[in-house]
């Protein structure tokens, strides 16, 4: 294992990553985001009608690529800022002010690119108001990118900017892109494998390209069925029905889904007890548990080969948990767990802030303080301790309850 890994690492360090090598240079190369291209064109043409533009969407959907191609198409220079430059108001001002007022030396104009503005909010006090001020006064278009544009801290920026949503690419587009690049790189991957990479990427092109690169360089190409199947998006309910009701080979069942294996795992987890009882139930969860173990190993060691095992355990493992096909119609539920966790987190927010203050004082993690919260509670009720922790009135009230 060690022997194999070393030359592999070396190669990826020496070589440029596919994601950089094939970064697009013009609007026409950008796949699946024609709407976004229209908006950005209009924005640049009509500038300074609106001075700021926010590209938002998940990772690897082409936000940065779109800005780069916009600059190339319009012969503009990009001045890039990242959130670490913007620790505070003064730094932001210092760095941005001259830039917004100088003429670029060699080119006609500039685009100010501020990547990941969601990163500005947390630690950079004053960063957001300063950004708004600059959007108001800039002589050059400011383009910002972020994953989640709807967080409340961004609302002043939102109000000043044109919003462009970058949607995750569908599997078909990712596959065709992978195919093109595989050809150029002389990588001999079969279509099923490319499909797997594309599905796993959940529309994140960068992730898909990275996977393609690491697999091709590792030469551990998955030996899989080469039968081409049409990339039909089958909805998850049909998939679940086949999985739970039938007793036929289900190993390829998930290839057609737009959901990732991990998302499908949550759906299966939620719905097993609707179909299976007793021994069958236990066998199915045993298989799902195994799938999850491999999922964990994939994340831990980045051993994407294990995807194969996860996939088989959560398909065939579930299908063949039952001795016979099941009759009837079953209404399946959406996975509820994630939502429940989220709701709960809102409820225990105070507990968390108190634990955080306590943890900082006693050299332990917030998590540990929360775990032992019921032991700590009598201690936290001590007024001196409350003073020491500088608890807010709300936090004191929470403890009284």
């Amino acid at each position: 294992m060690q022997d194999k890994a070393n030359p592999l690492n070396k190669m990826s360090e020496d070589k440029q990553s596919f994601a950089e090598k094939y970064r697009i240079k013009s609007y026409s190369e950008l796949i699946g985001q024609s709407k976004a291209v229209e908006v950005i064109k209009k924005f640049l043409n009509e500038f300074p009608k609106k001075r700021g533009l926010i590209l938002h969407g998940p990772a690897g959907t082409g936000k940065t690529s779109l800005v780069i191609s916009a600059s190339k198409e319009n012969n503009l220079e990009i001045l890039e800022l990242n959130s670490s430059d913007l620790r505070n108001r003064a730094q932001l001002e210092e760095r941005l002010k001259p830039a917004t007022q100088q003429q670029s030396l060699f080119k006609k104009g500039k685009i100010l690119l501020m990547d990941e503005v969601d990163g500005v909010t947390g630690t950079d006090r004053g960063g957001i108001p300063e950004l708004v001020k600059l959007i108001n006064s800039t002589k050059y278009p400011i383009i910002m990118t972020c994953n989640d544009v709807w967080q409340s801290k961004l609302s002043p920026v939102r109000a000043k900017s044109t919003l462009v949503e970058m949607k995750p690419l569908n599997v078909g587009l990712v596959v065709s892109l992978l195919k093109k690049i595989a050809e150029k790189e002389n990588i001999n991957e079969n279509i099923y494998f490319l499909n797997q990479i594309a599905i796993k990427s959940q529309g994140d092109v960068r992730a898909a390209l990275n996977d393609l690169q690491s697999h091709s360089q590792g030469k551990d190409i998955l030996e899989v069925d080469t039968k081409e199947k049409r990339d039909v998006e089958e909805n998850i309910f049909n998939i679940l029905r086949k999985l739970f009701k039938e007793r036929s080979d289900s190993r390829k069942l998930f290839d057609k889904s737009a959901l990732s294996l991990d998302e499908i795992l949550l759906w299966i987890e939620e719905n097993i007890p609707k179909e299976y009882k007793n021994e069958v139930l236990a066998r199915a969860y045993y298989a799902l548990g195994n799938a999850d173990v491999f999922r964990g190993r994939i994340y831990k060691n980045q051993s994407w080969r294990f995807l194969l095992y996860q996939s088989i355990f959560q398909s065939a493992g579930i299908t063949y948990a039952k001795p016979n096909p099941l009759p009837g119609f079953t209404k399946y539920d959406r996975p509820k767990r994630i939502l429940k966790i989220w709701i709960n987190n809102q409820k225990i927010a105070k507990k968390k802030t108190i634990s955080k203050k306590f943890a900082r004082l006693v050299h332990c993690s917030t998590k540990r303080a929360m775990r032992d919260f019921s032991i700590l509670k009598p201690i936290l009720l001590n007024p001196n301790v409350q003073q020491e922790l500088q608890l807010s009135d709300e936090e004191r009230d929470f403890l009284q309850k």
Binding site: S84, G119, L265, E269, P273, K277, N278, E279, L281, A282, A284, Y285, Y286, L288, G289, D292, V293, R295, G296, R297, Y299, K300, Q302, R337, K340, I341, N344, I348, K351, K356, F358, A359, L361, V362, H363, C364, S365, T366, K367, R368, M370, R371, D372, F373, S374, I375, L376, K377, P378, I379, L381, N382, N384, V385, E388
Partner: protein, 322 residues
């Protein structure tokens, strides 16, 4: 002693000879510190056995009064991710130490909570700033620390404190705070602490907030608030074959009381032996429980694994082995 009303802090040892347990490690660390030069250190071992305390003792011994200026403490489980390593660590590491010692010290607590990527970034930082900065890292499981980091550190494996060690710590505090601890109360305190000295002290302080004469019932009263409630309800649902309710209740308990999966497993493991099922099946369930706990530690999803375990309880309820 510092002026705090939190006992874990008020009675935290500040010098090598105040520490309890870990005598072998102390000897070696002491000689490193006396040379006024330490390598990067990795402290591995369970919670509450002196890892953070020893780190603090080291910096106080190295820097004396100015230790606070030359020391940065980060808890990786609170601030995980690559940004922390890039920003805080770098910012701190790149400036020179303000003392006779030519380096600063960063204590990275619970370093095993850092993602792989963050650990990779950390490894570069360790190399780049090794002249100006030494790292002390702590972790529960050294297997979760990537090899390149381990190979850059001197690794110390801390042992669980013995009963007599915890007793000594608690007795010292009792003397200062004018407490009396009955013999059986002490046993319960030790048991409830699970060998975690911080927890033992917290338990003692929580109990002392009721009365200065600590007895068994009072400790039990505080402890009963810590056990995941209704764990028995979860298992009873499962044994009766009602998987859906068992699972809903399980998630409920875990969320409401912020119980982690591994704590849940510990509670289940204990409860198995109170259940009304055949002893052979209890053994089987224990086997499955152990496997579940192992999987969680290795990075599996807690809730998926717990459901798989609950499904085995459904079978156990029907008299079948898991």
């Amino acid at each position: 002693m510092s002026q705090t009303d939190i006992w874990t802090e008020r009675y935290r040892p500040a010098k090598f000879d105040e520490m309890v347990g870990q005598q072998e490690i102390l000897k070696r660390v002491k000689s490193l510190v006396q040379a006024m030069n330490i390598p990067h250190l990795l402290f591995a071992g369970p919670a509450g056995i002196g890892k953070s305390t020893l780190a603090l003792i080291i910096v106080k011994a190295l820097f004396g009064e100015s230790w606070k200026d030359n020391y940065l403490e980060l808890n990786a489980s609170d601030e995980r991710g690559i940004d922390v390593v890039r920003q805080k660590v770098k910012d701190f590491a790149r400036t020179k130490a303000i003392s006779n010692v030519p380096f600063k010290v960063i204590f990275l607590d619970e370093a095993d909570a850092l993602t792989k990527e963050a650990q990779q970034a950390l490894r570069r930082t360790m190399e780049n700033y090794t002249n100006t900065c030494r790292f002390i890292m702590s972790c529960n499981y050294s297997s979760r620390i990537i090899d390149p980091i381990q190979s850059r550190c001197v690794v110390f494996r801390f042992k669980l404190l013995e009963k007599k060690d915890i007793r000594e710590v608690l007795n010292r505090i009792a003397e200062k705070e004018n407490l009396t601890i009955s013999e059986d109360a002490f046993d319960i305190l030790y048991e409830g602490s699970e060998g975690d000295c911080r927890r033992a002290i917290n338990l003692l302080q929580a109990t002392a907030s009721i009365s200065l004469n600590i007895n068994q019932e009072m400790v039990n009263m505080i402890l009963s608030t810590t056990k995941p409630k209704d764990i028995r309800v979860v298992l009873d649902y499962a044994l009766a074959g009602d998987f859906v309710n068992a699972r809903d209740k399980l998630l409920d308990v875990m969320l409401k009381e912020s119980v982690s999966g591994t704590d849940m497993i510990k509670a289940i493991q204990k409860e198995i032996w109170n259940l009304d099922i055949e002893p052979e099946i209890k053994v089987k369930l224990t086997e499955k429980t152990g496997e579940t706990e192992f999987r969680m530690i290795e990075g599996s999803d807690e809730f998926v694994q717990l459901q798989s375990l609950l499904a085995s309880f459904v079978l156990a309820g029907q008299g079948k082995p898991a």
